[in-house]
């Protein structure tokens, strides 16, 4: 078996090895019409084995481009990997928790240590194996990534609580004396939200389903300093 040109003997093997799509070797013996391939995959995802051949046989990526899929192919891979079925509920919950923390690494440079600590504490609480049931849906990584992107874009870190919907979507709540806002990050670049604002005339209830950037604008508007706040101060 000859070594294909895209395998580069570099230290990048280290992080690449973690990526099941990476360590695939394949050669084609045209004369015998026999194709052999070998590689490394995670046993946890049966999808991986099938998927791991595809990028190679497609020849879509050059050696150069392939060697550049660094780090965070490991991290990105985490975003789509399915969890193994043969693990205990406690193990699955723990893996899901670690998975979210791994994903957070992509954004660590933009998170103050105190913010990350608070976030991790909330995740630890949310994904406590003792409070988890078999029928509970594990968190959707895409939803979490949207929440992270939105938080850094909006710089709005002062959420009151985090939760999970029945579908595994991230629910985020903000509370003040006069405003409550609940948002569900759908994992497709949009947010579904509902706000309740106590007014002199009653409670204003507004709901929407908007892009992440639009939601940032709305939150900024909703929690803007108000005249009554200024007077109170």
């Amino acid at each position: 078996m000859t070594m294909p040109e895209y395998i580069t003997p570099s230290a990048s093997e280290a992080s690449c090895l973690a990526h099941p799509l990476f360590k695939v070797l394949i050669t084609t013996q045209a004369k015998s019409d026999i194709t052999q391939s070998s590689g490394v995959s995670s046993s946890n995802s049966p999808i991986v084995a099938a998927a791991s051949i595809a990028p190679v046989s497609s020849g879509a990526q050059s050696g150069l481009a392939r060697s550049m899929l660094g780090t965070s192919d490991l991290i990105r891979d985490r975003a789509s990997r399915s969890l193994p079925e043969n693990k205990s509920l406690s193990e699955k919950t723990f893996d899901a928790l670690v998975n979210l923390k791994v994903l957070t690494a992509q954004y660590a440079a933009h998170l103050a240590p105190a913010e990350q600590k608070r976030l991790f504490e909330s995740l630890d609480f949310m994904l406590d194996p003792d409070d988890w049931h078999e029928e509970d849906e594990l968190p959707k990584p895409a939803s979490f990534l949207d929440f992270m992107k939105w938080s850094i874009y909006s710089q709005w870190f002062n959420w009151t609580s985090l939760g999970l919907s029945e579908e595994g979507l991230f629910l985020v709540a903000w509370r003040t004396d006069s405003i409550s806002l609940d948002a569900s990050f759908l994992g497709n670049g949009t947010v579904r939200w509902v706000s309740r604002t106590q007014m002199d005339s009653g409670v204003d209830v507004i709901a929407g389903n908007v892009a992440l950037t639009s939601f940032a604008q709305y939150v900024s508007f909703l929690f803007r300093p108000r005249e009554t706040d200024d007077e109170a101060n």
């Binding site: 570099s10 992080s15 090895l17 590689g39 046993s43 150069l64 923390k101 690494a105």
Partner: protein, 243 residues
């Protein structure tokens, strides 16, 4: 911010110490190492190698244990075990070289304690960096405004580059290492930003001391190499962003 870290927002996403050893571990030894570290790295994925043979009438596959990827509960510390490798990886936030170096050394010490002495035949130190640049700062700019190594693009197009990818291998004038630098444009990681990867591999594949203490001294000396390469590759505009 760690004492040895000059930037308040270091762009390191992953730091890796990758040691290739010989002779390779047996499956039993691999399992022993997994058990050795399972309390520290509790989220464990089994890696399997596989060989698929596609013939005219049948397809056969032969799976085999290739190693383990083990994550600590903090989600940041990762160990990768293979029959000929022990890899210590730290995802962001990067705690600084000194702590990371100690972690890698402790892992290797535990590895040797469990499976006995192995000769290290290749050392790889890798840092994966992602540089996030606000769109308003990068639109209409040349990549060379941010990275000091880039693909030459004719003036007519230099400010219209949408994606780039490059890989360069060079040797170091003072250390017996090869340095591999990869950089490319990344898909939008942050809203309103463009991101570049800047991966730096420092590889020592010859002249590795047989004595472990001396080997770790050699690894420690590679820190200045990776830092030097990073500083040489970025511009002051990037420094302003991460300072």
């Amino acid at each position: 911010m760690p004492d040895d870290q000059p930037y308040s927002r270091p762009p390191i996403i992953e730091a890796v110490v990758d040691l290739t050893v010989t002779p390779p571990l047996t499956n039993k030894e691999l399992e022993q190492v997994r058990i050795q570290f399972k309390e520290e790295y509790r989220a464990i994925e089994e890696l399997r190698s596989f060989k698929v043979t596609v013939g005219p009438k049948s397809v056969a596959s032969e799976p085999a244990l290739a190693g383990y990827k083990m994550n600590a509960a903090n989600g940041c510390d990762v160990m990768l075990l293979q029959k000929n490798k022990i890899v210590t990886s730290r995802l962001a936030p990067y705690p600084g070289w000194d702590r990371f170096f100690s972690k890698a050394k402790n892992n290797f010490d535990g590895f040797v304690k469990r499976v006995g002495r192995r000769e290290v035949i290749r050392i790889g130190i890798k840092t994966v960096n992602r540089i996030d640049i606000p769109m308003r700062q990068i639109e209409g700019q040349r990549i060379s405004e941010f990275l000091r190594l880039s693909v030459f693009v004719p003036d007519a197009f230099a400010r219209r580059v949408k994606n780039h990818a490059l890989s360069i291998v060079f040797s170091h004038p003072d250390h017996p290492v090869d340095i591999i630098v990869n950089s490319s444009t990344l898909n939008q990681v942050l809203i309103g930003h463009a991101s570049f990867s800047l991966d730096i591999d420092v590889v020592m594949a010859s002249g590795i001391p047989l004595h472990y203490d001396q080997m770790w001294d050699a690894i420690a000396s590679l820190r200045s190499v990776k830092d030097e390469v990073f500083e040489q590759c970025i511009t002051d505009r990037v420094r302003e962003l991460i300072r």
